[in-house]
Structure formats: structure tokens, C-alpha cells
């Protein structure tokens, strides 16, 4: 283990959490949400089917539903008395049209969405949200697909949430990605679709921070959504892939409050990214006791001890993996005996010298690039207008 691992270097970044709010704040939000839901309830639904009925047809009981509502309310870090509102929100969720585009992607986030399940209601995401356009799942191709897109954009102008999966190649005038019969570059495609969106939700580490394609030497000049989309609220849901529970959480909060969730300095929802993985880790007790896996397959690995010495990036990574987990809450990487690789952090391919060794930083990685990633934050102003939050430069990268 290298000697230069000072605690200061390891535990960089401040825990933003979700700040404690006073009663007046929650009362105001409750009232606002109630009004919003009531107005949505009066609208003609895009779907005639009421989601709760769909659930019942699929064999879910009222009790299952309330259990989900309770878990989701907690995940979103709302006080318990919001539960009835969350339950009502599910009924109006299908009033929020979603257009989902795939750019320089691997389809991992689409696949994650398909497997969305954590809370049982997510399993019906195709029934519950109004998914107007999704290249992976939609029937039509070519001009018919384009027509579908145009139609959704016109019908829901200014109303739809634009979900973006994949980074955007900007080198050589954007030629590394084109789409549609016109051969439009991804840069132009994104800007055109963002212009009429209510807000843009970047899903996965590629769409948020450039991710894999942006790793050194970044052959295609790949970048994330927020460095291209101006004057439009942007929400970042990083991780590779993003947890579908967090995707649904953003839609749900938007449907309920009419606003985007409270965001941190990197435009991530605080309900999901307010805490270090390390702080909620199920193996934390072994860290505290100094019980470490020293080699794959050793006695400590057999006993499920701390993976810090095997390179776990949990102390430097903000995400809710340990509490929400994946695939019906079945597991997550640390539970499967592998350290966290920090996949929801900006520059995660370059920032850490090795995934499987405890080196906090690649000496050649410039932490300032995290700030550069967040720097186009003229757009944060737009986000704050909608989110009522005040993004600040909260990340302190151990300087």
C-alpha cells in the first residue's frame, strides 16, 4: 500500500446530504405538490388506464403498493407525511411525457431502465410513464421514427423531459456521430431536442461527464450534456449504468412538485448523491475494525471484509448504491466482493490510477477537470431557477 495515502486525500469531497429543512419548508412544498397533483388529475390523461389498476391486474396488492410508496418516499428523502402525495403522484405520472435519446452510448442505461424493478411499481414503467420515443424499444424505424419524434416534440412542446443516454462527440465537427435521414450530428440533434424540452436529464456517466468515450485520450472529443445545453435546466444522474430507481425518482419528484429535485454542484440530485458510498457501506464495520481483504480469494474475502485495500473507491464516490442496490435490491458490487470503481464520479476512468489498488489519484489526472466539467455552470443558474436550489461549488478535491 502506498505511503502517501493521507486521510485528507482520500476523503475529498463534502457530503452534501440533503440539508435539514424546517417545518415551514415542508409545509410549503406539501401544499405546492398538492396543488400540482390536483391540477394534473384534472387533465385528460394520455393513458386511459389508471396505473394502480394496472398494478392490480398484474397481481400487486394494495399492500405491495403502499410498501413501495413508503420505500420510495424514504429514498427521495421526503418526510413520511408525503407518502399519500407520492401515492397520488403515481396516478398522474403518465402526464409527464418522456423522450429518450441514445447518443454515444452502449445502451447500458436503457437496459437498466428495462430492468427497473427495485420497488415493484417500477416494473410497470412502460405502463406508467408516457414514453414517446425510445430508440431501443420503439417499433418504427427511419422516417417513421423521425415522424414519431417530430409528433411528440410538437404535441408536448415545452413539456417533455428529454432523457439523454451517451456522450456527445464534438471533435471534427461532430462527425463521430450522426443520426436520422438528414445525417444530423449528435451535437445538433441534442441541441434541437433540448430547445423544446422542459428539462434535460442526463442519464449515466457518459451523458453526464463524458464517461468512457471521454477517457484519455478522448479520441472523439466526447463530452457530457451540460457542456452543450445552455439555458435549459439539466439534471445529472451519473453511474455506469445509472440506477433506474434514481431515474424514476427524478420523474416522480418532477411530477409531484413541478420542479426538478434539489441538485448539488455537479447538478446531481442530492437525494441520491448526497452521501458517500463508504458511509452507508455494509462492510463499513470491517473498515472501522481494520479487517481488510488483502488479496482476492483470501480468508478475509471469504468472510466479506472491507475492500479498501483492493482499491475500493467507496470513500471517494457519491451514490446511493449501498442503500438502494440493484436488480430488486439483490446486490451491489461491494456485496459481490469487488470494490467500488467510482463509476458515478466525473473522470472515473482517469481520476483513479487503478481500479483494484488503493491509489486515490492518477498522478497525471488533473482534478481541476472536474471543475471544468462543472464549469459551464451558467446553466446551473437555469437549473436553480427551476429547482429552487442554489448550486455551489461544493466539491473540494483534496487540495
Amino acid at each position: 500500500m502506498p505511503n502517501d495515502l493521507s486521510a485528507k486525500k482520500l476523503f475529498f469531497g463534502k457530503v452534501t446530504g440533503v440539508e435539514k429543512k424546517d417545518d415551514a419548508f415542508w409545509k410549503k412544498l406539501y401544499k405546492q405538490s398538492e396543488e400540482r397533483i390536483s391540477s394534473l388529475e384534472k387533465e385528460v390523461p394520455f393513458y386511459q388506464e389508471e396505473p394502480v389498476k394496472v398494478l392490480e391486474e398484474d397481481g400487486y396488492t394494495r399492500r405491495d403498493f403502499m410498501k413501495w410508496v413508503s420505500a420510495t418516499t424514504a429514498m427521495l428523502m421526503l418526510p413520511g407525511f408525503f407518502e399519500p402525495l407520492v401515492a397520488r403522484t403515481i396516478q398522474v405520472l403518465n402526464r409527464v411525457p418522456v423522450i429518450w435519446i441514445n447518443l454515444q452510448d452502449c445502451a447500458g442505461n436503457s437496459e437498466a431502465l428495462l430492468r427497473a424493478d427495485g420497488p415493484t411499481v417500477d416494473e410497470l414503467i412502460l405502463d406508467i410513464i408516457t414514453l414517446e420515443f425510445h430508440e431501443l424499444l420503439m417499433t418504427a424505424s427511419g422516417e417513421h421514427a423521425e415522424r414519431q419524434l417530430e409528433d411528440a416534440m410538437t404535441t408536448f412542446k415545452g413539456e417533455y423531459l428529454l432523457f439523454v443516454e451517451g456522450s456527445i462527440p464534438t471533435a471534427a465537427n461532430g462527425i463521430y456521430g450522426t443520426i436520422g435521414t438528414s445525417g444530423e450530428t449528435y451535437v445538433d440533434h441534442l441541441k434541437r431536442l433540448a430547445a423544446d424540452a422542459k428539462a434535460v436529464v442526463a442519464v449515466g456517466t457518459c451523458a453526464t461527464f463524458g464517461g468512457v468515450p471521454a477517457a484519455a485520450p478522448n479520441p472523439t472529443g466526447a463530452t457530457g450534456v451540460m457542456s452543450l445545453v445552455q439555458n435549459k435546466p439539466v439534471v445529472n444522474i451519473p453511474a455506469c449504468p445509472a440506477n433506474p430507481a434514481n431515474m424514476l425518482g427524478v420523474i416522480l419528484l418532477y411530477a409531484m412538485t413541478g420542479e426538478l429535485p434539489e441538485l448539488d454542484g455537479l447538478l446531481r440530485p442530492k437525494f441520491a448523491f448526497g452521501q458517500r458510498i463508504h458511509d452507508a457501506c455494509e462492510r463499513r464495520v470491517h473498515f472501522d475494525a481494520g479487517e481488510y481483504v488483502e488479496e482476492w480469494g483470501d480468508a478475509a474475502a471469504q468472510a466479506g471484509h472491507c475492500l479498501y485495500k483492493m482499491g475500493c473507491k467507496g470513500p471517494m464516490t457519491f451514490n446511493n448504491c449501498p442503500t438502494v442496490k440493484y436488480n430488486r435490491g439483490t446486490s451491489w458490487p461491494v456485496a459481490a466482493g469487488h470494490g467500488c470503481i467510482g463509476c458515478s464520479e466525473p473522470g472515473f476512468f482517469d481520476k483513479f490510477d487503478r481500479f483494484e489498488a488503493p491509489t486515490p489519484y492518477n498522478p497525471s489526472y488533473n482534478p481541476a477537470s472536474d471543475f471544468q466539467i462543472a464549469a459551464g455552470l451558467g446553466l446551473a443558474t437555469a437549473a436553480s431557477a427551476l429547482a429552487n436550489s442554489t448550486p455551489t461549488q461544493e466539491e473540494d478535491h483534496g487540495n
Binding site: 386511459q48 454515444q104 447500458g108 408516457t130 430508440e135 417499433t139 417513421h144 449504468p241 474475502a301 459481490a336
Partner: protein, 578 residues
Amino acid sequence: MATKHMVIDPITRIEGHMRIEAIVEETTGEVQDVYCSSTMFRGIETILKGRDPRDCGLMAMRICGVCTVTHYQRSIEAVENAFNLTLPTNARLIRNIIQGTLFMHDHLVHYYHLHSLDWVDIISALDADPQKAATEAAKWAQVAGETPWASDTQTFADMKDRLQKFVAKGRLGIFGSGYWGNRSYKLTPEQNLVAITHYFQALDIQRDLGQMMAIFGGKDPHPQSLVVGGITSIVDAKDPQKRQLFKELALRVRSFIKGAYMPDMYMLSAMYGEEMKAGAGAGLKSFLVYGGFPLNDGPIYNATMLFPGGIVKNGDLTNVIDFDPALVTEDVTHAWYGAPAPEHPYEGTTTPQYTDFKERINGVAYLDTDNKYSWIKAPLYDDTRVEVGPLARMIVGYARGDARIKGYVDNFLTRAGITVNDLYSSVGRTVGRALESELMADILTDWVDELGTNIDAGDVTSWTQFDFATASQNAQGYGIEEAPRGSLGHWVRIENGKVANYQAVVPSTWNAGPRDHKGRLGAYEAALKGLKLSNINEPLEILRAVHSFDPCIACAVHVIDTKGKRLAEYKINPVCAV
């Protein structure tokens, strides 16, 4: 004869980004010429250079979010091959279990959610009589010799009710602008209702498979429990309750595959029998399999494989050629890369050489098909264009006389009343994938039992120790096996502990590649050429054929690699006879 130049972009219901241009004869609807192009590029191999070889798997996995664990495993196997490591039994079994689960997940989602709507007309299902649909479901299950997954009238009545409300709202969402009513849809309303019911039920079943992956993989997509030398999820493997949960989920999935997926295949083969007989979408009829899923311990490439490797050319089942990795090359004549310089195989990198569309007329861009027109290269095996994938695995296994594979194939042929030649078609490709799912569903629980027996006997080894500093001075190796979509190989060269060169030749590169230096068509192009469209404004038949390959373009285009591309240069391990 007037022709129409069709531009289909984006091709949806695939992974990644793809464009097809077809020259269609207007009166007959015949596809006279066709070009497949990938329109997205990332450059992941370049990114891997200079990194620690033990990190490669976690990065290479991100080539694709669908075959995710395949890239992860192949990359790790390439490094293990370079270091001459053999795996403990537990690691081999857990990798097979995770990989097998991926195969089933991939195939199920592919057929129902990415492909079935090319054969199934949702709107027609509105005219179905639910009671007759129940009878229909039972009928095809009987043909399959299985218990139907669902054959009660209520299930189909509920589905029809849901569809009616969905359609009545006037917005079809992801089903909007489909080719509903096209006359090449041949299923009856009842059959359509059965199939669409299975579409929705499969959404639930595929989540079971995701959960199964997570049990030993940590999460899915992008699991995280494999390392160079073994696996990390030994705590989970030792837990009998985890193994039991896995088996329970696997048995439910198996019931669905046997009681819904297979009956649907018999229904498809009967209703689209004409297309099968005519060989619509047959394409090259030359197949390549690297081989995959080692069934015994020891050096991986010496093991008996669940899917034996080999090459079958021109549909000739009497002659199976052994696979020799030395004979794999790639051609960039029509791909957006600089020309290779064979004299220096590993020196320097090929720079992307984008030549843009040929022209733009009335807002439509057209590929420069005489020159370069795709980000995918054209791989060749011994100067032959070949197809890879589940059908290739079934055909090569069949030709090899592999008892297990032959059993599943013959059973299907007999019950469906068709011949092996009928499998050379789009429907056949789809059937091949289902047969493989059935085979995997049967063997997966055996592997879990084998794992349990081994662990209960006291073997909890999960990792093979090695001295990285010594091993990584100068080494090279490959991980070549099978992915759901076909043969997938990673090649790595390591110097002074870092990756000196990295390349991957993946299924969709084989299948989706453009023309080669001799002007020969790639597998997709060959399958599409000659198809007849029933409506020249709707590319339904084209989608049917191209989807039957399960395109994964995200995989196919990740490449910037060294000049030359003679993968033969990597032949470092004489024991490999895959």
C-alpha cells in the same frame, strides 16, 4: 425500371446506431442493392492502451451495455491467457452461470422486445377473441410438447382490454408510427394477441434474469465480480440460500421459455413457413463459431465446449473446418479508417478517415457507397465473409454431430415439420436463438448444482494467485469465445505492466461489416439483398431480416486499432485449438 433509394436511419430496436440504404425496384418491391452503415464511433481500444491490464475488463465491458459481461469476461480471459493462468472450478462455474444467464436475458429481450413486432401486429390483436386466443396458446404449446405458460381466457381478455384502452387514448407511445396493417404480417388476430401477451409477460421474466445476474455478479447491466485469475463473489456462491434463489428464478424463466417462447417459435415457423422455405433473409450461409462455455477445468482452450467451434461454408453440413485464429483479418476498404500497411502490424495506429456522406439532396444525406461508408470494418475468415451468432452455433454444432445441440435442433425440426435447410432464413435465425435459450435454460441449474456440490465438498477457492510483475513484462493473449450475438474475441499485448495494444473483433463487426476489398457483401447486406417489400414505403421486411441478427452496433464500432490487423500475430499459445 424505376427504383427508389430508401434511407432508413435510425434503425431502431437495436443496440447502437445504424443506417441502411436500399435500392428498391418500385414495381416488384425487390431490394436490388443494400448498404449497412454504422454512424457512431467511440475509440475504446485507443483508450485502453497504456492502462493496467487488470483494469481492462472493467473498461472493455463498457463497450456494450447489452453483452456487457461477455466483453468483461473476454478481456479478463485475454489477460489470463497472456499470463498462462487457469481458473479454479468455482470461478469457471460462476462465469458460465453469469454468462449463461446473460445469453437467456439477451435472447428473450431480443425476440420479444426488439424483434417480435416485425412479425406481430399489435393492432390486429384488437380483433382477437380471447377465448380462441387461449385455445391457440394451448395448441402451440402442445406442438412444442410443453405446458403453456398461460392459456386461460382471462389473461388474454385482460390483455386485449388493456390494449384497447391504450389504443383508444390515441397516442401509441413507443408503438406509434409502426407498420400495423402491412400485408406481410401473417398471424391471425388471436395469434397476435397471444404473442403480444407474451411480449408483456417477458418484460417481467427478463427482470428475473437481471436479478439472477446480480446474485453472483453484483448488478446488471455491468456486473462487477470478475477479476484476472477468478471471481470475487465467493461469499454469495457459498450461501445456499443465494444458490436456491437463483435456481427458483431460473426454473420460472425456464417455464416461460418452454411454455411461451418455444411455442411462439413453432407458431412463427408455421405461419411464416413460406418465407422459411424461400430462404428469405438467408444471406451468406457460411457460419463461424469460435466456441464457448468450457465444461471442464484446465486451460480454457483445451476444454470441451458447450458450443463447439468451427466453420461451415455455403451451408455444407458435411464439412466442418476447424477454427484457426490465425486466419482472421479485417478489411477497411469501405470503412472510415485509413488503409492498412501490412508490413508493420503493430506499429502506429490507424487514423479514422471520415469521408462524409456523398451528397445531401432535399435534406436527405446519402452514403458514399462506392467508397467508404461505415465505422464498422469488414472482417474476413480465410478470405471468406461469414455470419456469426446463435444460428451459427446451432448449425456448426449440428454439423459437428454434437449430441446436445443436435438433440434440440432435431426435436424442433421434427415437431415443426421442417428441414435444416429451412433454418437458413430470418425465421430460422430467430428459431436458432430460441433453441439456444432452451438449451441454456436446461443446463444452467445443473451448473448451479455443480457449484453447490463443489463448495459443499470443501473447495472454496475463487482465485488463482500470480505474480503480476513477472507475468506482465512481455506477454500477449486472447480471449475468444461466444457472446449472445456470436463470436467475440479480445486480443491484448502487454509490455512493462501496461497494455501495449488492444483489439476486439466482435459479433456485429462480423455481421454488420460493409463490403470488402473484393466488393463482397457483409452478412446483413447479403441477407437483405433480394428481399421483396410488400409496401415500398414501409421497410418491414428489411427490419425483419436485419433484426433477426440482433444487431449490436455499440459493440461493432469501438475500434481504432493498429495497422494490418493480422490477428495471427497473436498466436502465442500452441495449445489453443478452439
